[in-house]
């Protein structure tokens, strides 16, 4: 499965546009030439701008999260990757070739073997058992029942649904149904998982469980995941790379911590102001990269990937302590608790002007 992979992008979305309406090409031309925005396009051409100049690299083995509120175009965007929706203009490069140039046959093969999808409303087949649902991709590919049922049961066990193989989806709770959805995606053995608001329909506690399950599976399986959500907490928790979408346009994309520390747009500042920063920020983002000198009283060693919340717990809330930051066995810097506390001050406090609206 790893053949031909490099550290670069697994899926590269380039200059993607989507305009909904009767004559999208004409509207797109007007959009590009006259520089119209979403409201003008709707008013003057009666076309809806879905996506505008989207460029995203989905890197191999990472979770790329696309976050935006409803109407921002995030669900439209994820459906372009496996071409459930065709774009008006742009390219989607998957393993070096443009998906838009694929024939129906090639596209089906990609959907069957290389990309799987998890849906917000689960979209399970109500007349099939849980195991048959999980085995959908294999059944579609033409495997026999004797082959696909054991494979499906293996993944159902893995997502915590031991003993439910013979049940029907309506007998399961929402959280369990979505576990079936995830098992279905995993059984297909595709490297890419597209997750469209996969946890948004679940209760908060179950959602947290599912996020932990996903992270745990990801550690083990190293899939390339494109995850859509409207929940910033969820985005920050899962993302290796975070893309923030507003009105069909990307307004910032970066590592989650960078977005939190350096929001580039008032819209994002608004978003991040309610976030529990201690849980998201990691030691490496706030430490001082200096060699510890002899006169500092070091309270202990901490890993650079730990989040600030766990350090506060470790220090028992004592702001005078200083820790030595380690990257494995290498010393990379020091963290003063005072610095840590300062980093928890929300961005808006230091940037009054940005929240003037």
């Amino acid at each position: 499965m790893l053949s031909g992979m490099d550290s670069g992008a697994k899926i590269a979305i380039r200059n993607l546009y989507k305009v909904f309406g009767v004559d999208p090409q004409r509207a797109l031309k007007a959009l590009k030439e006259e520089g119209l925005g979403k409201p003008e396009l709707l008013e003057r051409y009666n076309h809806v701008l879905g996506l505008q100049d989207i460029n995203v690299d989905v890197k191999y083995g990472e979770i790329t999260v696309i976050m935006g509120l409803s109407g921002s175009g995030k669900s439209t965007l994820i459906r372009h990757v496996n071409r459930l929706i065709d774009p008006t203009a742009g390219e989607i490069i998957f393993e070096g070739r443009d998906i838009l140039g694929c024939s129906n046959e090639e596209l089906r093969k990609i959907r069957r073997e290389q990309m799987s999808m998890v849906f917000q409303n689960f979209a399970l087949l109500p007349h099939k058992t849980v195991a048959e649902n999980a085995a959908l991709a294999l059944e579609v590919r033409g495997f026999s029942r004797d082959e696909y049922i054991p494979e499906a049961e293996k993944w159902l066990d893995r997502v915590g649904l031991q003993g439910y193989a013979a049940s029907h989806p309506h007998q399961l709770s929402g959280g369990m149904q979505q576990r079936v959805g995830i098992a279905r995606a995993l059984t297909s053995n595709a490297d890419i998982m597209l997750m469209d608001e996969a946890f948004s329909a679940l209760d908060p506690l179950i959602r947290t469980d599912m996020q932990d399950l996903l992270l745990e599976l990801q550690q083990e399986l190293q899939k390339t995941i494109l995850f859509i959500t409207h929940d910033l907490d969820e985005a920050l928790k899962l993302a290796d790379h975070l893309v923030i979408l507003k009105d069909g346009r990307i307004i910032q994309q970066d590592e989650p911590q960078t977005i939190l520390l350096e929001p580039s747009d008032p819209y994002i500042v608004d978003f991040v102001s309610d976030i529990n920063r201690a849980r998201v920020l990691r030691v490496r983002s706030v430490m001082d990269e200096i060699k510890p000198t002899g006169d500092i009283n070091i309270a202990g060693e901490i890993d650079q990937e730990e989040n600030l919340e766990s350090i506060i717990t470790l220090a028992q809330g004592d702001t005078r302590k200083t820790y030595l930051v380690m990257d494995g066995t290498r010393k990379v810097g020091i963290l003063r608790m005072e610095t840590l506390i300062k980093s928890l001050i929300p961005t808006e406090a230091s940037d009054d002007g940005m929240r003037s609206h």
């Binding site: 459930l84 849906f119 087949l125 991709a137 579609v140």
Partner: protein, 345 residues
């Protein structure tokens, strides 16, 4: 003198009227004959009695103008003109229907009652999985047999069995095709509307011209045309109502159109399709009574006898027998439908 003489004379068409009058003599109505015999010119009617300028009224002023009876006559002639060609195609095409009906009637009639009733009860049990219903059906069938209506009831069942099965076999594919093409749907829906609203007697008329009344396919076609509508409509509706999210999932996992239809759309549309089948069976039952006018066997014949010979008791009991059959068929198919529903949701 007639009301609209003036119209033709101002248009300068008098000569055309006269010339045609000599050449042709259209059909004459009784009213005309009486008027001719009276031999007097009627006075011009007042404005309150002004007749609508219909074909007949205009004909009175101008002999060359066709009467409305010419219209119906020409439709009849037109139909008779293409009748032979139509029969040439339709006869062999519909011949299997006669065979099916004859075969089913023979099978249902020759099977002895002590075999037939248990088989029917077994079928009810298989479809409905309800012991209570089987007891009810047994009581009904034995009751009908006891009052000597068994053979008529069984004939009716045989006809419904064949016609409803054919409705499903023909109707479901049409419904599927309609659900996949908006254009086809737009074309077929008016036909379905017409079939559903046309009084059942009316489409017996051309069928009588096309086929011999002694052939079973005559009433077979009438029943199928009348009863096929709900199964077509509800198949189309059922497939169109399949959850879009599920269809999207099927697409996302790379199903072909065929796989989608067989593995997703038809199973999910099944409750609606079964509701259509239930309606189709009910409608064939009501049509089988009317079709007894064109020699369909069964309880309808007794109803007809009740009307013709004023045998009140025979007619009413036969009618009740039909109600009993309807209740049996309805309960059985409804229970099957309920089973599908619970397994899906």
């Amino acid at each position: 003198m007639a009301t609209y003489d003036q119209v033709f004379s101002t248009l300068g068409l008098e000569s055309w009227c006269k010339s045609a009058a000599e050449a042709s003599s259209g059909p004459v109505s009784m009213a005309d004959l009486l008027a001719q015999n009276a031999g007097t010119d009627m006075p011009l009617p007042s404005i309150w009695e002004l007749p609508f300028p219909s074909m007949d009224a205009l004909h009175e002023s101008c002999e060359a103008f066709p009467q409305s009876r010419v219209l119906t006559k020409s439709i009849e002639n037109g139909f008779l003109g293409i009748k032979d060609e139509l029969s040439f195609f339709l006869d062999p095409l519909t011949q299997p229907l006669s065979w099916f009906l004859e075969g089913a009637l023979w099978l249902f009639e020759t099977t002895p009652w002590w075999l037939m009733i248990p088989v029917l009860l077994g079928l009810v049990l298989l479809v409905s999985q309800s012991g209570k219903l089987v007891v009810f059906v047994a009581a009904c069938l034995l009751g009908l047999a006891f009052i000597d209506y068994y053979s008529f009831a069984v004939q009716t069942l045989a006809v419904i069995f064949v016609c409803a099965s054919l409705c499903v076999v023909i109707g479901v594919p049409i419904g599927i095709a309609m659900s996949r093409s908006d254009r086809l749907q737009r074309a077929v829906i008016p036909i379905l509307d017409m079939l559903q609203t046309l009084p059942p007697f009316v489409y017996l008329i051309p069928l009588i011209f096309l086929f011999s009344v002694t052939e079973p396919k005559l009433y077979g076609i009438a029943i199928i045309l009348y009863a096929i509508v709900p199964v077509v409509r509800l198949t189309d509706l059922g497939i169109r109502l399949v959850d879009k999210d599920v269809i999207e999932a099927a697409n996302a996992f790379g199903m072909t159109e065929r796989q989608k239809l067989i593995k997703v759309q038809i199973p999910l549309a099944l409750p609606n399709i079964m509701a259509g089948v239930n309606q189709t069976i009910m409608m064939s039952l009501s049509m089988v009574v009317i079709a007894s006018l064109v020699s369909a066997p069964g309880l309808g014949v007794l109803v007809l006898r009740g009307i013709r010979n004023l045998e009140l008791g025979v007619g009413l009991v036969a009618g009740l027998g039909i109600v009993i059959l309807a209740v049996i068929l309805d309960r059985t198919t409804k229970l099957a439908l309920a089973r599908i529903n619970t397994s899906q949701d």
